[in-house]
Amino acid sequence: MPAEETFEHHDYDVVVIGAGGAGLRAAVAAHESGARTALICRSLLGKAHTVMAEGGIAAALGNLWPEDNWQVHFRDTMRGGKLLNHWRMAELHAKEAPERVYELEQWGALFDRTPAGKISQRDFGGHRYARLAHVGDRTGLEMIRALQQRAVSSGIDVFMELTVTDLLKDGDRVAGALAYWRESGRFVVFQAPAVVLATGGIGKSWKVTSNSWECTGDGHALALRAGATLLNMEFVQFHPTGMVWPLSVRGLLVTESVRGDGGVLRNSENKRFMFDYIPEFFKAETADNIEEADRWYEDKHNRRPPELLPRDEVARAINAEIKAGRGSPHGGVFLDIASRRTPEFIQRRLPSMYHQFKELADVDITKEPMEIGPTCHYAMGGVEVDPDTQASLVPGLYAAGEVAGGMHGANRLGGNSLSDLIVFGKRAGEYAAAYAKGLGAQRPRVNAADVSRAAEDALAPFGAGTAQENPYALHQELQETMQDLVGIIREEGEMRQALEKIASLQQRARNLSVEGNRSFNPGWHLALDLRNMLLVSQSVATAALERQESRGGHTRNDYPTTDPFWGKQNVVLALTGEAGQGPTTLAVKRQALPEPPPELAALLEDAH
């Protein structure tokens, strides 16, 4: 087929893959830097996973607590990440987030206000002060609309419902990408010296997840296959509060704002159990009694309620309560805001949660508690990038947002994701544009043979041999494997088992077969996505096996504590073999974590 097909061809300076918060911000930045910019998204514009973000954007605006500043935000982020963050990214993020938030307002975003008419800020886990700029509990939607409207009014070329299957290179450098229109299945070749990956997360490889179908780790896999490295893939955040019932919505996110706004966790004995799970690391800043915890919402001179510990701590505690037999009827625990706030308050602050439970579970959250449990939510690990430029090890390849690693260390604080998108999206777009411009006439060229090979690979599922595999069935097996063997609590034997299973799935994936033709064919799309999901799952299991300690979003039964040695190590992965009939192999490397300069290190010592 590819031999006779004439490929659509486009030439740009910068191609941005993904149109969530990071991709949109990167495209706007590249465009404003004067680069000819293309923005590619797999869905319609404005549907990316960013719309699902609920709680808010963390930025030390100091609108409610003048004591707040970038230093405190930096410190909270690093401590929340169990000090495994790249300090420079955490610093840039804390310093630049306020300006990026104001920029959204400049472009038309309408945040909720303080009585003085400033942007309001709300409490979230791990943040010392009320810090999250928000719009009810639909902040992600507001952010994506503001960015989308900015991108559209700037006249940036948007390619909707187009999927990138491979990056193309010229020697060591990125030269472009091959993609197909989901509508027609026809291929498109992009020639561009700079590519920004902004493809988001990897959650679709787990069974219980808050992530949409798009979170298949495409950017992680594209980067690996292009010769870039992945950093700390073992750290996967399980958000403590996903819906558990009905089964149809299992995993669907329940915003942390419920707890920020006063909600508490209870077990089947009606006990506020989080007081039993305060780790040593956070003792000095966490309330150990109900009275002090309840005073904190109004007076920040008290210590924080334990329900607002970082997400990894809360998820583990919920997991432990359920395992101890103190769970709710459908295998979760109770999240109660009904007994603590008025119905009017709840409906005003949490309108979409009210709506979600009412319409999908017949639960009125102003009258009764919610049943919730952990759900796979966020990849802290990602493409290894330079903290200032977001450049990967491959010249011309950049990554920003969830697909990039380093910013969040071992665990991400709520609210830091949306700010990450706009801070590093902008940087990636600007540096990608500058790189493209700096090349002058020395631009890399796409190689026709590479294009044909990539197109043939993509069409393979239409010409499968006898041992045919169904992509939907294979996907389900992968999800069960990752859920059961590489979940919240891990151990060596199970991870080895997972790696064997993934290897066998990779073998079977070569025989994937799809019916129908290339026009909007979800079976074919899934078959192509699976290749990425398998590689990313292998990366997570490989890194998780390597790190012999428990820290943040990586908990080992066989190594239950943090280890100072591992506190100084990044786990870095590179692809050493794929394609053909051989197994997919990854090289694992331990790499020293960069140390913060003394003035920043001093900020981390401040326990309260």
């Binding site: 869905s43 319609l44 514009l45 549907k47 719309v51 699902m52 104001y102 307002e105 400049q106 472009w107 038309g108 309408l110 945040f111 909720d112 206000r113 009585p115 003085a116 008419g117 400033k118 942007i119 309001s120 719009v135 009810g136 639909r138 939607l141 507001e142 609309r145 409207q149 900015r150 559209v152 009014s153 509508e183 949409s212 179908w213 798009e214 019932w245 009905p246 089964l247 149809s248 919505v249 669907l252 979409s352 709506h355 979600q356 319409e359 999908l360 579970a361 169904n470 992509p471 939907y472 069935a473 799809v514 019916e515 129908g516 026009s519 909007f520 064919n521 979800p522 079976g523 074919w524």
Partner: protein
């Protein structure tokens, strides 16, 4: 508790198509999108359907369920009679691409025509001072998830292809209302909405409000006030005589 459910789904493309029946297993508490996915995974691997968040937040899985425009992810199976066959068709107002997927590019072209938010001379640079009661009116319209159900149901363009070049549709009227009510926007888009975007075609039957999954009061809170403002601008003899001060909001 699982049971057998009969789905009747339109399958086809721009050249035509027909209904196909699928019997699939359904579970208690499920929504229409669940059983469509079930059909896709088991008996119709290439069934084309758009979806993303499955939580009513992205507005991708719009279709007509028993003839009524709905988000499939927010339509519980429990609203149907036991044993009832559920019929699913693509949005009628937009051209079919394949199965339940339609070409909604009309909406993205209209989005490009919206003159962007432009701050006032009084507050040209964020942070802006704006108060909650003043931002709330526009915030209601910014809840829009762009599912295009209001566009689909609007009789001005449903079955009236000839009106499309002249009519932006309810989604864009709330967008213009949102900008018009923004406390710090300076552009006057009223003439543009009336003359170029076809606000006058709407005869306020409120069908758009009925289908809005975000419960935005499209007609009462956006379209009617916009129509009133347009009329004020056009016919207010004092404004016509003295001219309109830039930046004034009606």
């Amino acid at each position: 508790m699982s049971y057998d459910l009969t789905l009747r789904i339109w399958r086809g493309d721009a050249n035509g198509g027909d209904f196909r029946e699928y019997v699939v297993q359904a579970e208690e508490g499920q929504v229409v999108l669940d059983v469509v996915h079930r059909a896709q995974a088991t008996v119709a691997n290439d069934l084309a359907v758009r979806w993303n968040c499955k939580a009513g937040k992205c507005g991708s899985c719009s279709a007509e369920v028993n003839g009524y425009p709905r988000l499939m992810c927010m339509t519980r199976l429990s609203i149907f009679q036991p044993g009832e066959t559920i019929t699913i068709t693509p949005l009628r107002t937009f051209p079919v691409i394949r199965d339940l997927v339609t070409d909604v590019s009309f909406n993205y072209e209209r989005a490009r025509q919206v003159p962007a938010f432009t701050p006032t001379a009084e507050q040209p640079r964020a942070p802006f001072t704006m108060f909650q009661p003043d931002v709330e009116r526009s915030q209601e319209f910014r809840k829009c998830i762009e599912c295009w159900l209001c566009q689909d149901t609007c009789h001005v363009i449903r079955d009236h292809e000839e009106n499309k070049p002249a009519f932006a549709g309810p989604r864009f009227f709330i967008r213009y209302a949102e900008l018009d009510m923004h406390p710090n926007d300076s552009l006057d888009r009223k003439k543009f909405v009336q003359d170029e975007q076809g606000l006058g075609y709407c005869n306020i039957t409120k069908c758009c409000t009925d289908v809005c999954p975000e419960h935005i009061k499209i007609t009462d809170n956006a379209i009617i006030p916009m129509k009133e403002r347009v009329v004020d601008t056009k016919y207010d003899p004092i404004v016509r005589f003295l001219g309109r001060r830039k930046g004034t909001k009606a």
